[in-house]
Symmetry: D2
Subunit: 330 residues, 4 copies
């Protein structure tokens, strides 16, 4: 499996390439970056000769016989690169945010479907250790999900975006929101309470899903730590808590615990202290699923661009409501 | 300070009376219960002679020279008892729910104001150890507060109420909702997502406060444990977490922690393993404040009935919205 | 059940009397203190007339028809008071330290046995919520127990003792050591590593029990928090952890957890956030067992003085070894 | 920096090579394994041509111009491989256990010193995130350290060893013991309480260090989880706790915490949920220090074989005492 990388920035170097390196049978066959300095760095690091380093992604796709392309550039550049890959029938995985605009996600998803090309996206939290486990714990369905997702960035405009709010939505909120939609499906109604000001973003979203479940997404860039804490109610008897992608506790109304006790006991899980961050945060699972889909040949990846359309639709709705709140208040 | 108790049920015996017993200068001077069996029990327990045991609360108020009355009966009985106490100028503390209807709370609060009588209520969580501490941690104001309040009851109708939902609102939600209002003030807007069915109650409320803050109250009766977990954002730089009325952690964007590090460190507090539940849950503080207000003579108690009107107004709004959701769905 | 208290200090007022008040059928019938100020305080607090307040414990025992006496004075005074109670056939519970010298414990235990009088002691940790639970978790026996018991006091000499070390042993170590002996039985061998200096006490004890188990007691007065953390290995397959008298986790080699997983899961228990400190720390259980033994009439209490002899023997051995270390080092 | 690997087993593939891959400027230049199947696997995985795959380590050392060799074979094979590397002046890092016998460690350390060759060893816990942090927290020195190190293996004889006990000592205990010695220095006295039987190993060690500190190492192979929990007392005022290589809490007698409180608060640190296991467990730091020492040229690595002699001496002493206990008991 020969993979070409477009964009040799921090995300590629620190997460995607190490995650690929840990997988058997995956070869990083070529690297493309428009910045000559980064090309040089890649060449030095991987001992690549000139034939494997490119400044133009079409050149790379045309000259190397690639099985897949992984793209981690500015979101506004993703559309053209993905277009060119799909056009050539090359499976393509786009890092998040996969695009700056919802229309682009929809168009690429349609094109990929038409051409029968497998796509993937950097929605690693869908494959996080805790996500995989939580999905196995309930039998029927989630009834309520609450996520507190805090960070200390971005506090200024990212990429070529025009607001901190949109940068925050596409850099942070996308993960939490996508996870809720991944677990509960399409959104019927969405209400936002926004308390942001200047570069400080603080808002909460109440989500009602088509399947009857509801959720809350509580998020901010004013917390020094990355927080990713979940509460889930399911099956009219389970209360699942998860903190920091590292722990899960499950309290079950119907379960008899040690020595016949029913209250104050629960089952708890903690990530192994020796586990890799790539696995815990889901990078390994995300790439592995993309590769498996390519090798299987008969299914799309679980992070296909089409699965992101609902997430983008909701990000747009949140942005819209935040702006309206802003307009009312000031 | 001579106190008379009306209602000798579990709440009085397990929480209120022990909390009073731990306070200096407080004498339990008389007990009234309409149930002769409970009167007998009280007589035996406190070695009270007949002169101190009553079946009629007016008798007790008229015959004993009481400094205050504490009432823990059915909510529907509270109105008349409180009325009779206020009428006589006797300070009165009503256990929660202080009344079955919002109108009654408003009327009693007005009457108490007119007569200049001090009132109090069993809103102990306002005085919980963690509440007291959290209030001291932020300088300016809370911007976001999220509370997960789970329980395993009530699952059937309580008192002489007519629905599990209202029983749940008045037995459980009242505490969490009141705490949010206590910390953030009046509510401007309130949206409910409800996923309840039969006796299983699961709903989330998005609250927007007049002061600009917002909050979420996530609650259910389908969890085997009592859960009371808070996240608070304040001052554009603080993320405060509190779990189980027992721990607090504070992460501060502007603080330099041990050895100059800024990330992944926080200040944490844990309740003393030897502390009393009365203090932790706020019973001691609630009664102490009521007594202090009586002795001071120049202020009302911090849990005066007037401070509960907003909480009742919001409980009514939640009940209304839940019913509407129910009507739409079925 | 009429109980007389000797010694109206902090321990009596804050822990023992409230714990008694929470028990049905227990009457605090008389209070004795050699300090007139404390007698006055007791009189005011409990509305006792003069006939129930005493400055001499023999007077109290002779004049009131007491079912039991609870003593919380200076340890050096306990011997005579207990002697006088046993002499009169009155069951007596001594707060810890029950005596300043091992000989006194042995003598009182022998006398109580000879006279057939029930005794008890303030070894509340034997009845702590976590202790009761841990005892039910293993089937066969504990193989290893490790206790970290930290405090910030005493840092100066207590009572009429002559060293900080002995004060620390009798005020703090007694609890942890007694718990280990309560759980594992008599001690075969005991090794101490001591790193104390001046008022700062830091030592660790390696204990080998007659039954084959071993344990470590790690203790100090240089920690700002009270710490009481346990690790227990039992049945060749259980690892039990307990922290702060508030949590228990149990990992079982042979258990299949949620979804068939065997690793990284465990059963956890957390004390109710509303529970009383008296129950959690074992005061309630300790007094209840003493009372139950008196009412049963056919057994001694579980904290009888005879059960403390081994604890005192080990405290003496630790003191001896610490002194020897000190002699070698300086 | 060209590195040759001897031994292409799980440790090399899962931890050492990924950790190397994450470092800039490190090239995996050759791989040697006596098992042809593993050679083939390595060739496929790294696209190495035949010239870079070896079945004889001397061949590899002689034919490739290596800057260093990393060895992860059976411990009994390490001596000869290390000997051949040192003989050739090639820096060599040995995975743990670096040797089956203390004599071998001593001989290799002496030889390396004589030849001026840099050595390293797989003592990754010395570089674990929590270790690095704990070392910065205290000013003066550690006074007490207690480690609970539990595992569920080995339960049978490893490598070509002749007992489960020695296998356990060299596979598990070595890490914990080495960390204590790394932090507190040479050991003056060591007492063991052993409760092992058959394949079940349970023992505790009381260690007295030359510098006056003392410690306890509590370990077993009967716990389903890997546990690595530390308590440290230092500077007569600090109580540091660390659990699972993932958290640290620091309670300081002299520190005033939030709002002037001194008790029940502490500073806590938690590993980032996105951090890599290689960094957390110290693999990255261990290899980086080895490489840095080679590049610096004027110092040995911090895990040089000479630094392991004390650890081996203590493992021998523990083994001896466990055997003696066994002899006495049975």
């Amino acid at each position: 499996m020969k993979i070409g990388f477009v964009g040799f920035g921090a995300q590629a170097r620190e997460n995607l390439i190490p995650a690929c390196n840990a997988l058997f049978g995956v070869e990083i066959a070529a690297i493309c970056d428009t910045d000559p300095a980064k090309c040089l760095e890649a060449a030095t690091l991987f001992k690549f000769d000139e034939a494997k380093i490119f400044s133009n992604h079409c050149d790379m796709m045309d000259k190397c016989k690639l099985d897949a392309v992984i793209v981690a550039c500015y979101p506004s550049a993703h559309y053209q690169i993905a277009y060119d890959a799909i056009e050539r029938g090359i499976p393509v995985l786009l890092e998040k945010p996969v695009a700056a605009r919802s229309e682009d996600v929809i168009r690429l998803a349609e094109m990929a479907k038409r051409k029968g090309v497998i796509t993937g996206s950097g929605m690693n939290f869908r494959f996080a250790d805790v996500t995989e486990r939580i999905k196995q714990i309930y039998n029927d369905k989630i009834q309520m999900i609450s996520l507190r997702q805090m960070a200390n960035k971005p506090v200024s405009v990212l990429w070529d975006y025009n607001s901190v709010l949109k940068s925050f939505l596409h850099a942070q909120t996308i993960h939490g929101l996508d996870l809720l939609i991944h677990l509960c499906g399409s959104v019927k109604k969405l209400s936002v309470a926004d308390n942001s000001s200047d570069g400080n973003i603080i808002f909460s979203v109440l989500l009602e899903f088509v399947n009857g479940a509801h959720g809350t997404l509580i998020t901010s860039n004013t917390s020094p730590h990355f927080t990713f804490d979940l509460d889930v109610l399911a099956d009219d008897r389970l209360h699942i808590k998860s903190t920091s992608l590292s722990t899960i506790s499950v309290a079950d109304m119907d379960k008899t615990y040690l020595k016949g006790e029913r209250k104050r006991w629960c089952d708890t899980w903690a990530v192994s202290p020796l586990s890799s961050g790539y696995s815990r945060a889901g990078y390994t699972g995300e790439i592995l699923d993309f590769i498996n889909a390519i090798q299987a040949g008969d299914r799309d990846s679980k992070t296909a661009l089409s699965t992101l359309i609902e997430t983008y639709r909701c990000m747009d709705a949140i942005e819209e409501q935040c702006k309206r709140v802003l307009a009312v208040n000031y």
